[in-house]
Symmetry: none
Subunit: 214 residues, 4 copies
DNA sequence: CATGAATGAGGTTTCATTCAT
DNA sequence: GATGAATGAAACCTCATTCAT
């Protein structure tokens, strides 16, 4: 049984000594993990380095709050997905045409990357490096896969509606995803990179690639 | 079946105890490393697992033949780049138009991936995970970057020749590279994936994305 | 009898499993290191042997408490220098003439050696074997050099005061140091050696060598 | 049975490929060992580094010619002692008084050190670091001890003859030895050191320390 | 005589985790 | 809730030595 069972308690209490809420501690550790993963990569983000970044004196505290490395990584992914979802969904849903939604998806991803490069880089790192290591992680890979499936469905509808041309939608969506993630990876290492401009370029690129040819 | 089947020759006579010539042993270890990296990923490819795969009794032997992990990884990259270059170059140079060369590049990459999924997956893994860890590795990152620069130059020429439309060539080439590598990554985990078909799809995709619009 | 007897305190109650406070554990390890270095020499004093001597189950614990071999050795040196300084300083400062101070220095060193042969032997071993290996160690070599410089200054003053004759003070002080350290080295291997008597002999020797000739 | 049994053969033969005589190879390796020991110290002088210095491609060759590290070190000691003896003996025997012989001994040692700093430094290193490691080494420690005993005898005779004053001769000779060795140690690291001048200073020093006081 | 591939022990260090306090 | 000392596995590397050729 883990400490996480007693989450969201004691927010106010006597918190005199900087005592964190369970949830607060977890959030603090996740934030540190995101930074370290973004800077050093998935496999160099050890508990020791994360604890150091978080200002904690012991790695034991991380093990105490998370049920292993997998649990922490899952939380990192979950946190960033939540952030991304909250940012992206309204932007996409504000569009009416399929093409506009695709553009909003691509540019939205990279606008978000401009604001939160570390978060997205950490997400990409963790997803890319999660082999079968953690069974619990598979759930998130499934989520990712599920998101792609939804987007594939959108592409199919756009094709059926005659707005998009003929192409294999899975290949297309994976190419889009890969291109975006590549920019994300480079963005965190090269702050001078104009991520938003790259977003516009990619949106143009995939607009041409998807549009029905005259 | 063991990795030693590939690219390995024994020194002489009865070879009873498996004494290899220097180059042979190195090749054997590199082959084993490629397999392990492709299967387990860069950072789980420890000397112990590579030695085990190669049927060696000690990790010390790897240290004996390679000047550290970086040296081995460099050899892996070098070996695969050599393989890829030998395969790709004639195919590309056989084409006359820029568009045909781009198609040959994309399809060639993935045809090669169909024949050598592990080699390409290992290459992608190592390149992706080589942070500043090894100074000697930077050389290969530079090679990679240099290759991209050459391809960018091709794109520019195609634009100048009016064969390709207007787009930012660096963004384009990185999107292409990312899309290919994504297929490579998935191919090694999912043997059912039709890599050649994905190659044709991507070639079509980027053909539309690069062609001058009427 | 174990090294833990020296300079070690347990945290609290029944201390059944040997959990030490940070400082206590460090002290215990340093004490074990001193013993092992004195007995086996600097380069045979591996973490494994030190851990064994200290009754620890893993070398990892030493790495946990010390930032590498250099850190441990620095602590060894620091500890013994502190011990020596506390012992020597009052004895020397109690003397009024330069000659008496020189005698107090020599005899004090070897009286201390009689009481703490291992500590001094370890000090001599570590200092003698610290090549440029550890940058942090250079600091201690500088301390040692600085101590010599101070003593050289004393010799010069004694010469200026007419108490000592003409000689090159650096050569003199190094000869003294070398002679003392030689006794220290032999003392730890040969418990029968009368270290205090050797101290008196050396004091006499260098008294004759330094005194102004009539 | 070792290769050394067939020593001093085939000096002339077909030595077409740079084939060394057994003795020649041993000498070459000993010379390389001396250099490495002098530069890096006893315990960093691994077979690998010695082979590298000697221009050999394998450490196996060293193991082939020497019956272990101890054997090589013994040869190093033996070689340097032979050199030193040939240099020192005539110089000392040319003197008539005990005091002059002592001076010749000290200055001779350091004149030799000026000409052969590495040889003497290697000797000092090996002697100082030879614990009970090698039983065969004990023989050389005994030789060293025996040499000291002879010198002690000389001191006693000088005292009996009234040329020297009253002191404990073992302490005296060890102080002399230690002072000389200290200069040797520093000489190899600091080429600017005026070793011969230090020799004269030490000779003066110990002349005052040994002479009968008026 | 010589080679150099192979070996296995031993070195330091980092890692995630556990557990008494 | 929190701490941080302790653990043991695993990592890479170097070492001296052996042995088939």
């Amino acid at each position: 049984m883990q400490a996480r069972d007693s989450a969201v308690k004691q927010t106010g209490g006597r918190g005199q000594r900087g005592t964190f809420t369970e949830a607060g501690r977890r959030a603090q550790i996740v934030a540190a993990a995101i930074e370290v993963i973004a800077e050093l990569g998935y496999h160099r983000a050890s508990f020791a380095r994360i604890a150091d970044r978080a200002g904690l004196s012991s790695t034991g505290l991380i093990s105490y709050h998370f049920n292993g490395r997998g649990d922490l990584m899952r939380e990192v992914v979950s946190e960033v997905i939540k952030l991304a979802d909250g940012y992206m969904r309204p932007r996409i849903e504000a569009q009416t045409s399929y093409a506009a939604r695709l553009r909003a998806f691509i540019e939205g991803n990279l606008d978000l990357c401009a604001d939160h490069p570390q978060e997205l880089a950490a997400l990409v790192e963790v997803i890319a490096n999660s082999r079968g290591e953690d069974p619990g992680m598979v759930a998130f890979l499934d989520v990712t896969e599920g998101t792609l499936a939804i987007q594939v469905e959108q592409l199919r509808k756009a094709q059926a509606a005659g707005e998009f041309g003929a192409f294999e939608p899975w290949t297309m969506i994976r190419a889009i995803r890969a291109a975006i993630d590549d920019v994300v990876r480079r963005a965190v290492r090269n702050p001078a990179l104009d991520v938003r401009a790259a977003g516009r370029e990619l949106a143009d690129l995939f607009d041409r690639a998807t549009r029905r040819t005259a």
